[in-house]
Symmetry: C2
Subunit: 135 residues, 2 copies
DNA sequence: TCCTAAATGAGAATAATTCTTATCAAAGAT
DNA sequence: ATCTTTGATAAGAATTATTCTCATTTAGGA
């Protein structure tokens, strides 16, 4: 099952209109902020409380339904793509694009299998690729 | 010259006590927030306006004296280490450690020299290494 | 259908950052 | 050494992002 409802129930979360629309928003906006999500939902006339959005986002992160992504800004962005991937960050604009590359992943994992980092146990390797999008 | 004063004048910035103490703080705190810097400076009795700290930090970033680093939080952290490096992020705590690895850099640059990313020109490759510090 | 724990809405509170404006001071010019 | 000018700083207000509180509502199992 890949419906929004099943994603919630798989995690033992109650199905509410708010949660469904937040999840829908995350899947339809590129690495959104909480505010992006609120605006998206309110376009469709469904009102939603700001506090609810933050609360639900935190719940989703805890349950592993979404992830936070890292940025240099003081605003948190979320990611609905759970499969391991990297990101292309625009140095000009605010655009962040997903970058999936299994070959790269193998190289990285292989490298750190050989080369241990003293006193540190690696859980996840994510490459931030900064640069310019051509048009 | 490696003095704090020379770092400022090399960038054409006026030498002020505030700028010197902010730069000193950055070099003596591990990836600090603006608030970390303010607290550090106020320990030594020198008072400083919060707005000044933010202003100076932004100036330093613009001039390339320091860099912002990425986090999943809504607070900005700064980095005084200009040489290219990666970061170890603790999944437990707030700790972020520098990770310098030229061999890794060569592998990454080599990989993307061969494998172009369509419609994207790479400027910087930074690996985020998340995991646990063993004590 | 009922019940209850969990979720939500509304608004206050807090935290992080930016903005405004009056005053101050660095540093080049005299 | 003093003057002058331009940029820097202090203080506090304003804005933005997030969290908290608590009264009300609702999902979903009994
Ligand atoms: Mn905040
Ligand atoms: Mn903010
Ligand atoms: Zn992504
Ligand atoms: Zn660093």
């Amino acid at each position: 099952m890949f419906s929004l409802k099943s994603k919630l129930s798989e995690k033992g979360l109650k199905i509410t209109p708010q949660r469904l629309s937040i999840l829908d928003a995350i899947y339809n906006i590129n690495h959104p902020t909480a505010d992006d999500i609120i605006k998206h939902i309110r376009q469709k006339h469904s009102n939603i409380a700001i506090g609810t959005v933050y609360k639900v986002l935190e719940t989703f992160v805890q349950k592993g339904l979404i992830k936070r992504i890292t940025t240099e800004k003081d605003v948190i962005r979320y990611d609905g793509l759970l499969r391991h991937h990297h990101h292309l960050y625009s140095t000009d604009t605010v655009l962040i694009k997903d970058y999936i590359d299994e070959e790269l992943d193998k190289i990285l994992v292989g490298y750190f299998k050989k080369k241990q980092i003293h006193g540190f146990e690696i859980e996840e390797l994510t490459l931030q690729i900064k640069g310019k999008f051509n048009n």
